[in-house]
Symmetry: C3
Subunit: 396 residues, 3 copies
Amino acid sequence: MAKQLTALDDLAALDANLFGKDFLLTWDKSAAELQAVLAAAETLRELYRQNISLRCFESGLAISNFRDQSTRTRFSFASASNLLGLAVQDLDEAKSQIAHGETVRETANMISFLTEVIGIRDDMYLGAGHTYMLEVAEALDDGFKNGVLPQRPAIVNLQCDVDHPTQSMADLMWLKEYFGGLDQLRGKKIAMTWAYSPSYGKPLSVPQGIIGLMTRFGMDVHLAHPERYDLIPDVIDVATANAKDSGGSFTHTNSMDEAFADADIVYPKSWAPYHVMGQRTELLRAKDQAGLKELEKACLAENAQFKDWTCTEEKMKRTKDGKALYMHCLPADITDVSCEEGEVDASVFERYRLDTYKEAGAKPFIIAAMILTSRAKDPVQLLKQMAERGTPRKLD
Amino acid sequence: MAKQLTALDDLAALDANLFGKDFLLTWDKSAAELQAVLAAAETLRELYRQNISLRCFESGLAISNFRDQSTRTRFSFASASNLLGLAVQDLDEAKSQIAHGETVRETANMISFLTEVIGIRDDMYLGAGHTYMLEVAEALDDGFKNGVLPQRPAIVNLQCDVDHPTQSMADLMWLKEYFGGLDQLRGKKIAMTWAYSPSYGKPLSVPQGIIGLMTRFGMDVHLAHPERYDLIPDVIDVATANAKDSGGSFTHTNSMDEAFADADIVYPKSWAPYHVMGQRTELLRAKDQAGLKELEKACLAENAQFKDWTCTEEKMKRTKDGKALYMHCLPADITDVSCEEGEVDASVFERYRLDTYKEAGAKPFIIAAMILTSRAKDPVQLLKQMAERGTPRKLD
Amino acid sequence: MAKQLTALDDLAALDANLFGKDFLLTWDKSAAELQAVLAAAETLRELYRQNISLRCFESGLAISNFRDQSTRTRFSFASASNLLGLAVQDLDEAKSQIAHGETVRETANMISFLTEVIGIRDDMYLGAGHTYMLEVAEALDDGFKNGVLPQRPAIVNLQCDVDHPTQSMADLMWLKEYFGGLDQLRGKKIAMTWAYSPSYGKPLSVPQGIIGLMTRFGMDVHLAHPERYDLIPDVIDVATANAKDSGGSFTHTNSMDEAFADADIVYPKSWAPYHVMGQRTELLRAKDQAGLKELEKACLAENAQFKDWTCTEEKMKRTKDGKALYMHCLPADITDVSCEEGEVDASVFERYRLDTYKEAGAKPFIIAAMILTSRAKDPVQLLKQMAERGTPRKLD
């Protein structure tokens, strides 16, 4: 029998309706639903630490569909699926007949006959990733409704062009833990700022995910970037509306110093300007290699004008007591470590290195919670049942 | 405890001897054995729908050896293996030392120490795929007999140059369901016809599998193709003999119209002529890229003469009440959808789209049944035991 | 309930301290610890044969990190992990962001949140493989100590530049079985000799592993190779010291005939000279393709001078009663089978073929034993518990 599970009481008290739903964008979910995912993740982590098996599937596939490179999210998804008893099966589009002109609708059904969850990363093309997930969702609805599929698998967005909910929710779980509660985040200032990197074309989904989520819980969210490095306008609107609803604030500025001033949390990270991602998408689609080279060159030259957008010790001194929490989704471009000049000074990164690792360590439990709350009619009951069963995860 | 399982009673009544055997060609099996696989698949599907765990292995590998691209069969094999408790391990010949000159005999043993089943797709070279599977089988026999292997893994043919038994058996399971029983298929006319596609080199194993299997149960099987698009002559002989034995018929014609006339079922699908596959095999072996290009060009030109071999609304009107069941192993070349001119009109395909998906949905259970009947001394007893155990597949 | 398990009594009597430790080099372990791994492997094999489930993990990842090609070790690791209930997850460095400049320290933590074991093969670069494993180990220690990781995964060396402990321990398990006990090996002469192969650049880890391990148990170990085909000098020192400690002997010679004379066991196998591997490492690092071609040419020419270093029937006659046990880690270069002139005559290999397969068959159990003894505080208790539980591995 498990020890006391306070997060489970929190979960029981929340009015959440996640059963049978996909997890695509945090702003599709109510605040109670987001809190329910956090509480489920915390309960899973607590039971894991007590060596209690969280296996609730005797069989079932978890499909891993990565359309871009990944280490931490790939392993987080694999860990989460395995934790619940699902077997990971990669959908490797190079090895499949998808290249042969199958439609999304057909493939979505063909891989889903005995499938419980499909995790998708599709973040390369602006305007495409989220759209693709909606297409898959519609195909699954159609298949389930018409008796093709014995169950309707859940989709978990493992990063699209718009949002990166497993990252931002893991970040939120970490902040909740670090500051001692979700209510402790109210009024805290978080600086989501652009930072210089000697590469280009990094997705917008992390900063978008952060401003879209952290504005839900009364935080003072400051987005800062050089003038032309805009995010998708719709997401700016989402953040603005969220802040108003939650009693927090959303400030959009072109000054890193303003954002860092008295900040409780800083999240300095490179991304490509919105208009560049648009151009890049067109060039990628046209397979215009020369055009892509050209664009990269122009962008790197533009980036180079903003090398002072970097998280130095000097900049950190401007934050609350000089001790803001540094966050990053990893891997960071660290000056003098992974590159000559990058997003963050080596000494700053090293001081917060273990914190960023702990931030990342929340992700497997967040993903497991997303799967569990989508698959279980009564997640509280299910978690209780597993706690009471008390099967050791690892015999000793 | 599971609800009533009528298919399990059917299984108990059949005199089948599948234990310890591979599943390579349907015509190696007795009619009772084929029916036993169907009954086992239906029982597995029924128990799955009742959320009853079908895990009968606590550990064991299922090796997935695809020598050609695949989505649906790869996922069907993975789903089936996982359903029974086996872990899928890909044998990726590029990543292994097989490229370094290992013999089939040695590799077959090296991968099999703790292995229960090996699924193989090898359909590219005429005269090679089935032969390869026999070689693997012999190596496993040798290893088991001599105490190298603690158990003799079963081989399941996931498509070879001769037969595609997981496809044809899934097709048969679907037909049995659609028409309400195997006895209802007696006298039904099925048209297995060639159809135009803007590609070339598609394997012969689907049409061969269909005429080799559907002739077993008293159906009127009509094979139709343009003159030079022959199948392997031996398989024609098999179909002829089967039809005679089962009290059905086998008609071989060069007219799509004749085949469609009053048909209950139509299966229009492209394939490469037998003699072309033979040439192609030689060129592939010689790595003669120029020769392959040449051959492709000639074949496509030949194909283009038969663009009227396509499943139009017009042609469908010729079938029984204009309402024959359309079948396809997927993906189909759909006119104006996946190509300009293809195997089937978009409107015909769309009308039967969900049917073709359901047809495909039988495959995971067919493969699981092939594994189970080969691994269990007494499959009826084992299925009963799992039904009585009643462990939920998914906790709720 | 399992039948009598004599190996388990052996295990209980040994003073071994393997819990929480990595398995990197056999000479890091005490003789008792090596015997404990053998006894655990034998117990696992015996229980497997009795169809008793050895699942002791309800969830958990086993990461498979192969930086070089592999069939048998890859499948052995997968089989072993699956046997204990772990799910294999490949760390495919091409698909991950490792290429993007992640540090080993970071990646090691990122993949390990819910991980129990990491199997690593890294044998291409002299001076690199073992060093890499130590780096990963240090990163995991750091992550665990600082609360990043809920458990410290074990590392199993699946072949590095220095040692190949899963191979040498499987070889030892086979020798123990073949000769009827570890004490029966005392005084037996084993000839680890270089043999000609029409390839170059084969790793040194097998001969090094053999002389490093077989000298632990009082055997007369003879290492023979042409003059310039030296192994790493440090390992020669290890073997010399081991032989002295264990009451055996270690003889280093340039004569295959001397080594074969009256030998009980012969292990003829090709490898690249130490100094060549050093040069090769530098050229690989510099991506000097022309230099590598040049080196290969020079080496093959040098190799060709030693074509008489091959295990012929003639040479076998020199061994004890002409009946020494032939060993090989496989795949062997067999004259007239896999190459024109190779390491061994076809007739010799064929006579011992099944023996080499059985030798290989020990590996999954050795790896499972390495995992189990590293993860379980009390392996004897755990094995007893599983034996008493008596859950069938495969329902029947």
